[in-house]
Structure formats: C-alpha cells, structure tokens
Amino acid sequence: MTDLKALADAVIKGNQTEAVRLTQQALEEGLDPKTILDKGLIAGMEVVGVRFKANEVYIPEVLISARAMKMAMEILEPRLAAAGVDPIGRAVIGTVQGDLHDIGKNLVVMMLKGAGFKVEDAGVDVSPQTFVEKARAANAQIVGLSALLTTTMPAMDKTIQAIRQAGLPCKVMIGGAPVTQNYANKIGADGYAPDAASAVDLAKSLLN
C-alpha cells in the first residue's frame, strides 16, 4: 500500500519523479483520488507553506515543491474529475494591465493549486475586461490581482470596478511589492496578502 506520507515528503523535497511515481502507484492500488490529493499532495504543500512563512525554506524550494505537485496533479486531475471531486475553490489570478512581472503571481498560482484550488492563470498585462471574461468563464469565486509597479496599481482599481459593474459575485484579493492593506481598503478589494503563503490563507477565508 502506498505510503501517502512518503508522497507528501516527495512534494516537500520537490522530488518530481518520486511524487509522480507514488501518485501513479496509489491510483493503481485503487486509493481514492481525493485521499491521495488531501493526504499526499496538499499535506506536503501545507508543510512547505508553513516552512516558507517561518523562513525555513525560500522561494526556490517552494517553486520546486510546487512543480513536483504540478506533475503529480497531471495524472491525478483526470481521476478527480471522473470521481466528481470538486476543488475547494475556483480562482483566476493575473498581473494587471501594463505590468509584466510574473514571479509573485506564479507563486500564488502554484500555492493555491497546492492548497486544492482550481486556478486559471490569466498571465501578465491582463486588461480589466479580460479579467471579467476569464472570471465569468471559470465561474470564479476568487480573483487575484498582482502588481509590482506603483504606476500599474490603478489598474487594480479599474479591474475591481469592472468586476463589480459586470455583477460578478467573486471576491477580489490583491498583492505585490507596492501594494498595502490601506490600498486594498481604498479601492474596495476584499483582501490583501503580503506573500504567496498568506494569499492561500486569505483565499480560503474569502470562501467562507
């Protein structure tokens, strides 16, 4: 019987080969895909998130773990869909119009996926209208906006207005180097997260 703790450890260590092998093995043994996800992959990423917040590991290690999880998810996702297992939430994440920076956004995408969200990565330089269209198409509960430049922060405001005017019921969270909680309050965002691990906690809390 596959040891799901070993699968979690493979994710923690960022060992893609082992994460894929153990996921495949667990599926072949007939383990419930949701159990593999929760007790193996998500459990591993949760440990990574805690260590990241505690400065025990840094962004490179988080990226490597997230990539291991992503590879394992490629074989697990079809089985989850076939079993009718829903993600814990649906999110669209992107960097706002005029801004080309992507590492923070990518990290949030990976960490959210690692927490069990279904995430649409909208990319960089995303217009307010594109955010609206993607959020509508994905039936998103959460829209995450990233900006690294002070001059692109107003695009967050415009995007939130576009989402509200379109009548979408999703919550909007924002983040990025120049962004603050005060700015989130000012533009009517539902939340602000200072880093990718906190963004996961925020997204979960916004679902409730």
């Binding site: 962004i59 990539r67 001059t151």
Partner: protein, 353 residues
Amino acid sequence: MSATAVLKGSKKLLLKRRSLADRLKQAWAEGRRLAAPLVGFPACDWLGVSIKVAQQNYGMHYKCIASLVERIQPDAAFMMMDLSVEANALGLPVRFPLHESSTVEYHPIRSPEDLLAYRQINILQDSRIQSYIKTVEMMRTGLPEEVLIGAYVVGPVTLSGLLAGAEQVAVDSILQPEKVDFLCRFSTEVIQTYARALIYAGADLLCILEPTAVILGPAQFERFSAAYVRQILDDVHRAGVDTIYHICGNSMHLIEAMARSGVSALSLDSPQTGVDLPLAAQKAGPDVIVMGNINPTTVMKDGTADDVRKACRCLLEQMRPFPNFIMSTGCDLPPGVPLENLLAFMETVRRFT
C-alpha cells in the same frame, strides 16, 4: 581593462573621489545625519517630461537630476533607476512606458549556449548605455562639489533573471547550480564593463541593484550574488569608489551575507516589507553603512508632509545609536511624489540633532 587602468593616463586621475565613509564621519562629528533619498522620477513631474524621454535623452535626464539637487539639496544624487539598461544593451526586448521605468518583456536565454551570441556585443557601444554614462559625466561636472554622484548597475542575479527568467534562475539555483553560475559569470562581466565606464564618467558611488536575489535563501544568495558582487568590488574599490548593495523587499535573512560581501553600504527596503532597520544595522556590524528605509509609496507618495516628518523623526530616533546610518528611502521613489514631501524629508533630517 580595470577601473584603475581606465583612470590612469587620464585627466580624471586628478579627480578626487568623495568617500562616503569620510563624509559620514564628518557629519557624525558635526552632530548631523547624511540624507540620500533614492529619487529621480518625481522631477519628471514638475519638469513636465515623461520618464521615457528622461531615460533616453541624457540632457533631459541630467536636467531632472540637477533640478532635484537644486530643490532638495541631498548629500548624494543618483541617476534614474533603470533595471533594464544592461539587458537592453544585450538586445533583450524592452517596453518603454511613458511614465514608468522600462521593463524587459521576456527572457530568451534557455541554455549556456544561447549566451554565445551575446558575448560578441560591446555594451558600451549601446546608445542607452552611452546616454547613462553621459548623464553621470554631466552630473560630475554640473552638480555642486559637495554632492556625491551615484550611479546604478544591476546585480548578477538580477541580470541573470532578466536573461533567463527569475523563476528559472530560482529553480536552477537548487537543481542546476552550475547553470546559474554560468549565467552569473557572464552577467558579472557585463556589469563590470558598465561599472568601469560609470566610474570613469565620475561616479563616487556605485549602487548595485539586486532585487531578484531577495527570493534566494542565504546559501544561494552567498553563492550567486555576494560571491560575484565581490568580483565587481575588486575593481570598483581600487578606484576609490564606494559601493551600495540595494535589495528590494524583506532582505532580513540576507543581511549578514550582504555585509560580508565587502560593500561600503547596504540600502534596505521599508518596514512594511518586513525590514527592521535597527536590527539590520546590528546584524551588519559597525563597519558597513546602512541606508534606508522610509516607505516610497505609503509615506512619500501617498502621505502628507506631516506623515513624512513623523516617519522620518521616528526612524532617526530608532537609528540614533548607529553612527553608520544614512537616511534614505526604502527604494526608488515613484513618479507622483510631491515636492512638498521631499522637502519635508530633507528638512526633518537637517533639523534632527
């Protein structure tokens, strides 16, 4: 060609470098603090020119910096911050917004072999590089004698990230470290070439901008940033030029490694990013100058002049025990910072005893 060789045989050999440490000692003895905000873009606002023009026209670039110096009278003046100039000179695609610093659009390097073609490029023949060098020359000859002239280069990890993608560099720093070493070696050669030219043009201070390195842990930072920065310093310090290591974001886990690199000063980001400046000064030790860290957006851009005074007084009080402190901003000031706030910053430092 080394920086000292560049300086020899030239009338610029006669040029007396202004030492940051000496200036700091003198100010401390007189019971005052040095003030060196990282600022350039706000001058574009009041001169009515775009950042794009200022970054591509050395005459306008200099005019902006001269206008700033005239109005706020800092102890050091820096050219405008531009993280894309070296990458642009290597032929990477760069976007030039009107009112924001330029940004590299994508990162084409996939393997060490891809760098071969880039090795043929003499970046000093690039028009934008020449424009920055010319700006520093004009600052040297045009600004008052007592103002230290600051020039920027990007750091080895940051240039590697622009070449190959920051995320790829981060992952490879663990999984394929030799690949990152290769990139950093190339980047260091490019930076050294540009640094020598800036020094020859008259810079007193060379500020190494290394924001991408904040994503690394201490071990990777030491290997891929600090070790290569040390190579850059060899040349620069021989020419009598001081160096500043600037990292955006929360760099508290990197302070010791930054200080050990041998730079003259650390320039650190604002408290809101997690930087505790008094603690950073303790970690860095008395032999390294610490600069920072008023928030560029929440205080300098969005705050009132009173907010600026309050934040500056608070920081000056916190840093009172540290003679090796220079009052600065946590990062480069964005466009839109009111002149009134800049004056409040300077006035608070000047009046503090």
